[in-house]
C-alpha cells in the first residue's frame, strides 16, 4: 500500500495501487513507519517526495471501514481512531529533518489533502485531479489539527472559505491562484513527479542541516505545532 525508495538524495514515498489510497489504520501505521525510516536515514541534502499511483493521491480516511463496524457508536469510534492516529503522520512530516514535496498524481480529499498540505511544497496536475474538503458535504466536523493546517497553509480568508465552506472541487489552476499549491503546470502524473524531482535536486544542492531545517519549519507554524505537541529545538551552531 505504501513504499519508500531512495534515489540518490531523494526519498520517494509512494501510495501504491490503483485505488483511493484511503487511510485505514494499517495504511496510517505503514506511512508513519516509513516516515520514521526516512528520518533515521536522513542526511544533509536529503529531500522527501510523496506521490501516488493512479487517479487518487488520497481520498481521505477509510469511512467504509468505519461504517462497517455495524453501529453508529462503532463508526464514530473507528473514525475517531483514524483521526487520532493520523495526527502523528502530520507531526512526523512537520518534524522531518529535510524539505518535503507532495507530487499530487490525482485527487486529494479531506485527510488526503491534509497529507498534501503537510508538505513544504505542493505540486499538482493541471489537467486532472482536484483538491476537495468533503467534510461540509458529508456532514463531518473538522478535527482541530485539520483546521489549524488550513489556517497555517492557506493565507487568505477567501481561499479558506472556498476550501472549507464551499464544498468546491478545486482544480490545478484555481489551486495555484488561491495560493494552495505551488504549481499546476503539468498535464500528467509523470510531469508533476519530474518537476518535483527538479525542485528536490535544487533543494538538495543546498546541503542544509536537517534538524535546523525542521526547527525553522516548525517555528513557521506555532499554532499547528502546539496542537500536535511538537516543540522546536533550541540551539544551533552557526556556520560562519
Amino acid at each position: 500500500m505504501c513504499t519508500l525508495e531512495k534515489r540518490g538524495n531523494i526519498f520517494l514515498l509512494t501510495l501504491t495501487g490503483d485505488n483511493e489510497h484511503r487511510f485505514h489504520p494499517d495504511a496510517i501505521a505503514t506511512i508513519l513507519s516509513l516516515l520514521g525510516q526516512a528520518k533515521s536515514q536522513a542526511n544533509r541534502g536529503s529531500v522527501l517526495i510523496t506521490t501516488g499511483h493512479g487517479k487518487f493521491f488520497s481520498n481521505g480516511f477509510d469511512l467504509a471501514w468505519a461504517q462497517s463496524s455495524g453501529s453508529l457508536a462503532g463508526a464514530a469510534e473507528r473514525l475517531h481512531q483514524m483521526v487520532e492516529s493520523f495526527k502523528p503522520v502530520v507531526a512526523a512530516l512537520l518534524d522531518l529533518p529535510m524539505p518535503t514535496i507532495a507530487a499530487l498524481n490525482g485527487h486529494a480529499a479531506a485527510a488526503g489533502l491534509m497529507l498534501a498540505l503537510s508538505h513544504d511544497y505542493v505540486y499538482m496536475r493541471r489537467d486532472r485531479g482536484v483538491l476537495y474538503m468533503s467534510e461540509v458535504d458529508i456532514g463531518l466536523s473538522m478535527p482541530d489539527y485539520f483546521a489549524a493546517m488550513i489556517r497555517s497553509k492557506i493565507g487568505t480568508s477567501a481561499a479558506r472559505r472556498e476550501v472549507l465552506l464551499s464544498g468546491k472541487k478545486i482544480r490545478g489552476e484555481e489551486a495555484v491562484a488561491l495560493g494552495i499549491v505551488d504549481s499546476a503546470a503539468h498535464d500528467s502524473a509523470e510531469g508533476v513527479v519530474e518537476a518535483t524531482v527538479g525542485l528536490a535536486e535544487k533543494l538538495a544542492a543546498k546541503k542544509w542541516k536537517g534538524d535546523v531545517y525542521a526547527s525553522i519549519r516548525k517555528s513557521l507554524y506555532p499554532e499547528l505545532c502546539e496542537i500536535l505537541g511538537l516543540k522546536a529545538t533550541i540551539f544551533a551552531t552557526p556556520k560562519l
Binding site: S152, S219, I234, F235, A236, T237, P238, L240
Partner: protein, 265 residues
C-alpha cells in the same frame, strides 16, 4: 556608524560607511540613541523616520565574528536588537526603510521593523540566511516574519528556501512596497513618501499605538525573551511585559570552536 539628519519634518537615519553595517553592540547603541533623540524632538508626533545606509549593504545582520570571539556578546546583541525593534514598533511616527543594499538575517529583520520597505531593484537582496548558516530563527524573528510576510508560500520561501529576494520579487511577495532604479532613487522616493505622509497630518502618538496593537504578537514574543542586558524600551506602552520569563527560544548559541566568516555574496 550612524548619522541622524532632519529634513523638514523627516528624520533621516543613515548607517554610514562602506562596510556591512553589522549589528554589533556599538552600532545598536548608536541607532538606539538616535531613536531617543527623535522621540525627544518636539515635532516628533508629526514626523516620519527614514532609515537607510551607505554602500553595498543595508545590514548584513549580527556581528557573528565578534560573537565568536566573545560569546557573551551574542546575547547582548540579541537583547539590544530586540529593544531597538520594540522601540521602532512603538515609535510615534511612520517609519520607512529605504533599502539601498543587501539586508540579511537581523538586517532583513531591521528592514521589516519599518512600516514601509522601499528598495532598489538594480542590486541587492533581502535574505533570511539562517538556514544557510545553520542557525535556528529566534521566535521573535519568526513572529515578525509571520506578521510582515503574509502568504504561506512567501513565508516558506523566506524562512525555508532561504531565498535571496530581489526588490521586484519582494514586491510580488508583498514584502516590498515599491522598487526603484537606484540607491539614490530609492531614498528620493522614501523622502517623497515621507512628505506625503506628513501632509496627511495623522497624530504620531495614535499611529504608534495602532502599530503596537497591530504588531502585538511581535512585542509579546520580544517581551517573553530573557534579556542579558538592560533592554527596557523608552515608551510606557501597556503591551510591554515588565517581567522577563526564561526564554524557550534562544537567539543563537555558539560553541567556542566556531570559525568566523562573514556571509558570502
Amino acid at each position: 556608524m550612524c548619522t541622524l539628519e532632519k529634513r523638514g519634518r523627516l528624520f533621516l537615519l543613515k548607517l554610514t560607511g562602506d562596510g556591512e553595517h553589522r549589528l554589533n553592540p556599538t552600532l545598536l547603541d548608536n541607532i538606539r540613541s538616535a531613536i531617543t533623540q527623535i522621540r525627544s524632538d518636539p515635532s516628533s508626533s508629526q514626523s516620519v523616520l527614514i532609515t537607510t545606509s551607505d554602500g553595498k549593504f543595508f545590514s548584513n545582520g549580527y556581528d557573528l565574528a565578534l560573537a565568536a570571539s566573545d560569546p557573551p556578546l551574542r546575547a547582548v546583541m540579541a537583547a539590544k536588537l530586540q529593544s531597538l525593534v520594540a522601540d521602532l514598533i512603538s515609535l510615534p511616527m511612520p517609519t520607512i526603510a529605504a533599502v539601498t543594499g543587501h539586508a540579511s538575517a537581523a538586517g532583513f529583520l531591521l528592514a521589516m521593523s519599518h512600516d514601509y520597505i522601499l528598495m532598489r531593484r538594480d542590486r541587492g537582496f533581502l535574505y533570511m540566511s539562517e538556514l544557510d548558516i545553520e542557525l535556528v530563527l529566534p521566535a521573535w524573528f519568526m513572529s515578525m516574519i509571520r506578521m510582515k510576510v503574509v502568504s504561506p508560500a512567501a513565508k516558506r520561501d523566506v524562512a525555508l528556501t532561504a531565498e535571496k529576494i530581489t526588490a521586484d520579487r519582494g514586491l510580488e511577495m508583498g514584502i516590498v512596497d515599491s522598487s526603484h532604479g537606484s540607491a539614490g532613487e530609492t531614498v528620493e522616493a522614501a523622502v517623497k513618501l515621507g512628505e506625503e505622509i506628513v501632509r496627511r497630518g495623522a497624530d504620531g502618538h495614535v499611529y504608534g499605538r495602532m502599530r503596537e496593537t497591530l504588531l502585538r504578537e511581535v512585542l509579546h514574543a520580544i517581551g517573553s525573551n530573557e534579556s542579558a542586558s538592560n533592554g527596557v524600551r523608552n515608551s510606557g506602552s501597556k503591551f510591554w511585559s515588565s517581567s522577563w520569563r526564561t526564554s524557550t527560544w534562544s537567539a543563537f548559541l555558539l560553541l567556542p570552536r566556531c570559525v568566523g566568516r562573514s556571509a558570502r555574496f
